[in-house]
Amino acid sequence: MLRLLRTFCLRGVAFLYLAAILIGPLALVFFRTFEHGFRPAWDALSTPETINAFKLTLIITAIAVPLNTIFGIACALAIVRRRFPGKGLVNAFVDLPLALSPVVVGLALFLLYGRDGWFGFLGEHGIQILFSLPAMVIATIFVSLPFVAREVVPTLREIGDEQEQAARTLGANSWQTFWRITLPAIRWAVIYGVILTAARCLGEYGAVAVVSGRLQGETETATLRVEERYESFDVAGAYAISIVLALMAVVVLVAMTAIRPKEGTT
């Protein structure tokens, strides 16, 4: 009886916590957006600046995710399968973006690519990094760097290297071994990492805010657009964009949950 009570209390606390922190605010955003019907929300979303903002967010995500996937897998392979000096350092540095505030990342890029920075000379040669797509992509890549590697490392450790050795003795070179043995064995971890990376890219704000220059209709991503609308007292517009971002997150989450049960079978 007491145990039953305890279970219910625990569940109640967990649910209330989630409701207060997550579900409540989200529901409120939904409510506010459609308070005056569907029309105002649609109008806010169909302005050229907003469409451009979403386009930009998707472009950045589409560049950052594949690059970080390749880097993440290579990095995980190096950490788990190879021995080299400074390995511990690499292992620690992969986690750095998780600990570092995105604003600091943005500032660091600013110092690096600014007029007086190390790579400031690029600007003199007409290569624009700051206040344009390249800087935003670099910033996003930096903040979403660890996810694939962090997912793949434990899976690689778990499967061990016997299957890979078996493939080698059967005549496979390292490339064939990777494609036919290693990648299929870690595929769910990779997909999971990709989803987390994508979610992080879509929602990135801090680092991009610093390096983008926030030019409306040019270097303004969806998250930046939300803030801009809010500051311009267009609360309905800010909510509408938020809703779309929230829906994207939901899609990503659903995809993740759909994949999870299959993880057990491989």
Binding site: T169, L170, Q176
Partner: protein, 317 residues
């Protein structure tokens, strides 16, 4: 198709796994590397396969220097203790892997895989995944996979170590028969002397990174070169500062030349074999191995005083 290892050394940090090991495996033989765990036997096998690079020494396979050659170019088949099955592939695809990599025509692959599945008696299991097989079936699949590419030498690393006793006995006999059929030069690693004696026609006893003795099973048993071989290959008991096989210990009811007094502590009946545990006044416990008939004739019982004497010719001092 012979293997010749010369002066192979390998260290892992401070641990010396192999210390200038030399070994010759004749063409078509079935050789066991026998030794306790940590003796270096698996490392030697992995060096032969190219999965481990030796610090010194060279490996010749079929007369050609293979020392610096990558494992995929050595023409070896390797079977791992824990099967190393490709979990995301069916049994068929597992067996076909080496042939697929070599881009053989599809019909040829199908035919060869059918043959091999029949050889390892897994015809009905071709479309299953490794997770749906028992341990013994997985290991037979791994063997078929290794044989598919027609390796010059077949290397097995504790192939039956992860299986239960009954399946292990079955597979031993099966490996022996397979070797008679296929005749590929085979080396297998084991820590089980009975397994080595039963399956191999040549045994190399390895201890602390060195080869103690190489020979036919019977030679090792009857003419052990070192104390270690004597005690590792077959049972031993220590009588008067030397090692004796328990079945070479004579149990007498009356005092005799060279026999010492002992008291029977326990008589254990193990079917055909009877194990007699004895205590000697001067130096503690020994045991003798008798047949059931011998034991009955002597009417041995717990607490009885008897006289024991080693049959001299097989004593190792």
């Amino acid at each position: 198709m012979s293997i010749i290892a010369t002066g192979i050394s390998k260290r892992f940090g401070d641990f010396v796994a192999l210390d200038a090991v030399s070994l010759e495996v004749p063409t078509g033989s079935l050789t066991a590397l026998l030794g306790p765990s940590g003796s270096g036997k698996s490392t030697l096998l992995r060096v032969i396969a190219g999965l481990e690079a030796p610090d010194a020494g060279e490996i010749l396979i079929s007369g050609e220097d293979a020392t610096g050659i990558a494992p995929q170019k050595r023409g070896v088949g390797f079977v791992f203790q824990h099967y190393a099955a490709f979990k995301h592939m069916t049994v068929r695809d597992n067996v076909a892997f080496g042939l697929t990599i070599r881009k053989r025509p599809r019909d040829e692959i199908r035919k060869r895989v059918d043959e091999l599945l029949e050889l390892v008696q897994l015809q009905q299991f071709g479309h299953r995944y490794p997770a749906q097989l028992s341990g013994g079936q997985r290991q037979r699949m791994a063997l078929a996979r290794a044989l598919a590419v027609e390796p010059e030498v077949l290397l097995l690393d504790e192939p039956f170590g992860a299986l239960d006793a009954r399946v292990r006995a079955e597979l031993r006999e099966w490996l022996r028969r397979l070797h008679e059929e296929v005749h590929v030069t085979t080396v297998f690693v084991t820590h089980d002397q009975e397994e080595a004696m039963e399956v191999a026609d040549q045994i190399a006893v390895i201890n602390r990174g060195r080869v103690e003795q190489v020979g036919a099973p019977r030679d090792l048993y009857e003419q052990p070169a070192t104390e270690f071989v004597m005690s590792f290959v077959g049972p031993t008991t220590r009588v008067g500062g030397s090692w004796v096989r328990p079945h070479d210990l004579e149990v007498l009811l009356a005092p005799a030349d060279g026999a010492t007094e002992a008291m029977i502590e326990r008589v254990i009946h193990l079917g055909f074999e009877v194990r007699v545990e004895l205590v000697r006044a001067d130096e503690g416990k020994i045991w003798a191995q008798l047949t059931r008939d011998q034991c009955e004739e002597l009417e041995l019982a717990d607490g009885q005083i008897v006289y024991v004497r080693p049959a001299s010719e097989r004593v190792f001092v």
